[in-house]
C-alpha cells in the first residue's frame, strides 16, 4: 500500500486537540499516528490502561476521543477489550448492530510490561480481534518516573536513583515484543516515531486490519523522564534505531522481518548521551558501564538478525 504523509496528515484527527498531555509527549504522537491508520469511515472503540494518556485525555466531563472509548483500570486493558470485542461479535451475530468496528487499546509500559502483562497475555492467547499498542516510554511516568521492566539498564529513575552506591537500574529491560511473538498471534510489530511516520503507520494499519490479535510496541520518549530538550524527540527516536537499541521489526504470522538495518550502526553512546537519565554513565570511571550497555545492545541485535535470517 502506498503511503502519502500529506494525505494522512490531512485526515480528520481522531484524538482532538485540547487534551492535557505534556507538550512533546511521545505517547500522544504515537496515539495520533496509530489512529491515523484507521480507514476513514471505519468506526472504532479505543481502550486505555490507566496512565498519563488516560488521565489527560478523558478528564470528566471532557473526552478527547472522537470514537467510543473505554478506560477500566491499570492492569486490565487487554481483558476489558476482550469483553468489548466479544460483545461486538455477539451483537453483530444477533443482528443488534450492523456497523463495522475496529478495536485498539493503548497502554504505557507500566500497564503493559508489568501490571497488565497477564491480562494482555490472556487476551492475545485467546486471539481477540484487536490491536494492543504499548507506548513504551520506559518508566511509570504518570506517577513520577518510577522504574518498570521496560526501563533500560542504568537509567536514573525515582525508584532506581543514581547515588554514591547506585548506578541506576540494575537490570536489563524486558523484551516484550518477543514475548508477544511467542504467543503466536497473527501480527507483532515494533516501531517508533520516525521521519514521515511511514513505518509506524504501515505497521498500525497491518495490525488493525489483520484478523485476530495484534500487538504494537512503540518507543515513545518522555521528555520529562528521559531528560532531553522537548524539541529533540525525533532525533532521539532516530538515534534509538540507528544504534540498534530499538530495532524496527515485525513478526507477521510467525515470520520475523527486519524492517531496517542501519548502514553504519552507531555506538550506543550516541543514544544515551543526549538523555539526562544516563548522565552518570559519562562520568570518568564509568566507562565499563557503557561497554556493558553496548554489549547488551549487540547481543540483542545479533539475536534479532538471527531470527529474521532464519525465516
Amino acid at each position: 500500500m502506498s503511503y502519502n504523509f500529506k494525505q494522512e496528515m490531512n485526515k480528520p484527527e481522531r484524538l482532538a486537540p485540547g487534551h492535557r498531555m505534556c507538550a512533546g509527549c511521545g505517547g500522544t504522537i504515537a496515539v495520533r499516528a496509530v489512529l491515523r491508520a484507521l480507514h476513514e469511515g471505519d468506526k472504532a472503540v479505543i481502550g486505555n490502561a490507566t496512565g498519563c494518556l488516560e488521565v489527560s485525555t478523558f478528564m470528566y466531563p471532557y473526552t478527547a476521543y472522537e470514537d467510543s472509548y473505554i478506560h477500566n483500570a491499570f492492569e486490565n486493558a487487554g481483558a476489558t477489550m476482550s469483553g468489548v470485542e466479544t460483545a461486538y461479535n455477539v451483537l453483530k451475530r444477533k443482528g443488534k448492530i450492523d456497523d463495522t468496528y475496529k478495536f485498539i487499546t493503548f497502554g504505557g509500559d507500566g500497564g503493559t510490561y508489568d501490571i497488565g502483562l497477564q491480562s494482555l497475555s490472556g487476551a492475545m492467547e485467546r486471539n481477540h480481534d484487536f490491536v494492543y499498542v504499548c507506548y513504551d516510554n520506559g518508566a511509570y511516568m504518570n506517577t513520577g518516573i518510577q522504574r518498570s521492566s521496560a526501563t533500560p539498564m542504568y537509567a536514573d529513575t525515582t525508584t532506581t536513583p543514581v547515588g554514591s552506591q547506585s548506578n541506576g537500574k540494575m537490570q536489563n529491560r524486558k523484551d516484550l515484543a518477543t514475548i508477544l511473538a511467542a504467543h503466536d498471534i497473527p501480527y507483532v510489530g515494533q516501531s517508533t516515531l520516525l521521519g514521515n511516520f511511514k513505518d509506524l503507520h504501515t505497521k498500525a494499519e497491518k495490525a488493525i486490519y489483520t484478523e485476530g490479535a495484534a500487538f504494537l510496541n512503540v518507543m515513545a520518549p518522555c521528555p520529562r523522564g528521559w531528560r532531553y530538550p522537548t524539541e529533540d524527540i525525533m532525533e532521539i527516536c532516530k538515534l534509538g534505531v540507528e544504534t540498534c537499541y530499538w530495532p524496527l521489526f515485525e513478526v507477521d504470522h510467525g515470520k520475523w522481518i527486519l524492517n531496517y538495518e542501519p548502514k553504519k550502526k552507531l555506538p550506543i553512546e550516541d543514544f544515551l548521551r543526549p538523555q539526562g537519565r544516563f548522565k552518570h554513565l559519562f562520568k570518568k570511571g564509568n566507562e565499563d558501564l557503557l561497554v556493558q550497555f553496548q554489549e547488551e545492545v549487540d547481543r540483542r541485535w545479533e539475536d534479532l538478525l538471527y531470527r529474521c535470517a532464519r525465516d
Binding site: A79, S82, G83, S121
Partner: protein, 414 residues
C-alpha cells in the same frame, strides 16, 4: 405448567442462565462455582444457547471483560467464589460506578487463609460496600428464582447497578434438591430484551466510559449510585411481586418465618435459615414463641423494614456467617443493630458468628441459641453480646446450665 426437576444449586443457576441467554459470559474456574461456567460452556457447545463464553485467565480479567462487554452494550455476567471475588474487588467498584447492569453469580465460600473451600459469607460480605446489589438464597429454588429476576432489577432505568446473586457454597451449590423451573418462553418474556440507551457500539452516539474525575465531580457520582441503590428497593419489591404472579413464588426483602408473634428470633442469611426453621418448628411445638427473619436482600439494606419486623421481639440473635474483626461482631450484626438503634431500640440484640469455613450449623445449635435467648430474658442468665458458636471442643450452648435449657447437647463437638 412449571417443570419439576432435581437440580443442584449450580445447575439451577446455569439453567436460568441458559433460559435468559445473555450475550457474553467471561469466567474463570474456582471451587465451588466452577460448575456454572462448565454447564454454560456445555450448553453452548451443544447449541442450546448462543452466549459467547470467554475463558479468561483470572477472575480479575473475568470481571474486567464483563465490564467491557456490558459497556459495549451486551447483557453480560460472570460467576465466582471466594478468592475469585477478592481478586476482582477493584473491578466490582468499577462496574458499579460505571452503572453497568451486569450480573455476578456468587457461590459463597470462605476467604483464605487458611485456604478453605467451604461455605461462609466472608467473600460477599467483604464486597458489601462495592455498590453491587446483593441477593441471597436459602435453597436451589431461590437461587434459580433470584437469577431470573436479576436483570429485571439491575437493568431497570431507575437502578442500573450490577447485581450479585449469592448462594451457599456446597450446601446449595452442590446439593441436589427438588426444584420447579419455569418454561423457557416464560423466562424469556419475563426478563425481556436488553436495549441500553448508551453503549460503546452505538453508531449514532459514541460514548466514553471510565473517566478520570477530580474532586469537583467524584462525589456526585457516589451520590448518584446511592440514589440508584435507594431506587432499587422499590424495583426489587415490584419484580419480586411480578415474579410471584408468574411462578406462585413472591419475593420481598426478607422472609418472615413464624415471626409475627415471636418473642425470640433469628436474623439469618442463606441456607442455615432452613436449618433454623426446623428448630423454630420444634420449639413452637414445645410452646416457645420463636421465629426467624431470613434476609434475602442485603444491598440495598432494608433497615426500617427489618426493625419493624423485629419490633415485637424480646431478644434476637443476629447470625453472622462472616467475621469483620471489629471485635464486636460481624457485618450483619452491625447493620441490624444500627437499624434497631434507629427504629426499635427496645429490642435486645446479640450477634453470633457461626458456620465459618463450612463449620456445621445444626438444628440443635439453633435450638440452643433460641433457648439461651429465652433464658436471658426470663432468668437473666448471661448472654454474651458477641460470640462464636460451634467451636471445637465447645458445646454450641451459651447457657447450658440456665434454667430450662437442656445441658446435654454436645453434638457440635468436632
Amino acid at each position: 405448567m412449571a417443570i419439576r426437576e432435581r437440580l443442584s444449586g449450580n445447575e439451577a443457576i446455569s439453567y436460568a442462565i441458559k433460559q435468559v441467554n445473555p450475550d457474553v459470559m467471561p469466567a474463570f474456574p474456582i471451587t465451588p462455582s466452577t460448575e456454572i461456567p462448565q454447564y454454560v460452556a456445555n450448553y453452548i457447545a451443544n447449541g442450546e444457547m448462543d452466549t459467547d463464553f470467554i475463558p479468561v485467565e483470572s477472575e480479575h480479567s473475568s470481571m474486567s471483560a464483563t465490564v467491557g462487554a456490558s459497556a459495549a452494550g451486551a447483557r453480560a455476567l460472570t460467576a465466582t467464589s471466594s478468592c475469585g471475588l477478592a481478586l476482582m474487588w477493584e473491578e466490582l467498584y468499577v462496574a458499579a460506578s460505571n452503572r453497568l447492569p451486569l450480573a455476578l453469580c456468587l457461590v459463597n465460600r470462605a476467604l483464605s487463609g487458611p485456604i478453605n473451600i467451604n461455605c461462609d459469607h466472608s467473600d460477599s460480605m467483604g464486597a458489601r460496600d462495592t455498590g453491587f446489589i446483593q441477593i441471597y438464597a436459602e435453597n436451589n429454588q431461590e437461587a434459580y428464582d433470584n437469577f431470573v429476576q436479576a436483570y429485571r432489577i439491575s437493568e431497570h432505568k431507575d437502578v442500573r447497578l450490577p447485581i450479585m446473586i449469592c448462594q451457599d457454597g456446597f450446601i446449595t451449590s452442590h446439593a441436589v434438591e427438588n426444584i420447579e423451573l419455569l418454561e423457557d418462553e416464560k423466562v424469556k418474556n419475563f426478563v425481556g430484551e436488553y436495549n441500553p440507551e448508551n453503549f460503546l457500539l452505538n453508531a449514532d452516539q459514541p460514548m466514553a466510559v471510565g473517566p478520570y474525575a477530580v474532586s469537583n465531580y467524584y462525589m456526585e457520582t457516589k451520590m448518584a449510585q446511592n440514589t440508584a441503590m435507594q431506587n432499587a428497593k422499590q424495583v426489587i419489591l415490584d419484580v419480586g411481586k411480578e415474579f410471584g404472579e408468574l411462578s406462585g413464588r413472591s419475593y420481598g426483602f426478607f422472609e418472615e418465618y413464624r415471626l409475627e408473634d415471636a418473642d425470640y428470633a433469628f436474623v439469618i442469611i442463606g441456607s442455615a435459615a432452613g436449618t433454623s426453621k426446623d428448630a423454630v418448628d420444634k420449639l413452637r411445638e414445645q410452646g416457645m414463641k420463636v421465629g426467624l427473619l431470613k434476609l434475602r436482600v442485603f444491598r440495598p439494606f432494608p433497615d426500617i423494614e427489618i426493625a419493624k419486623a423485629l419490633s415485637n421481639c424480646k431478644a434476637v440473635a443476629i447470625m453472622d456467617r462472616s467475621e469483620s474483626f471489629r471485635s464486636k461482631g460481624g457485618p450483619l450484626g452491625a447493620e441490624v443493630k444500627a437499624a434497631l438503634y434507629d427504629y426499635a431500640k427496645h429490642v435486645t440484640a446479640f450477634n453470633l458468628i457461626y458456620g465459618l469455613g463450612g463449620r456445621d450449623f445444626t438444628v440443635e445449635s439453633a435450638e440452643g441459641i433460641f433457648k439461651d435467648l429465652a433464658a436471658y430474658v426470663e432468668t437473666g442468665k448471661a448472654f454474651e453480646e458477641y460470640r462464636y458458636v460451634g467451636l471445637r471442643g465447645e458445646s454450641y450452648s451459651i447457657a447450658r446450665t440456665a434454667k430450662g435449657a437442656t445441658s446435654d447437647i454436645t453434638s457440635d463437638r468436632v
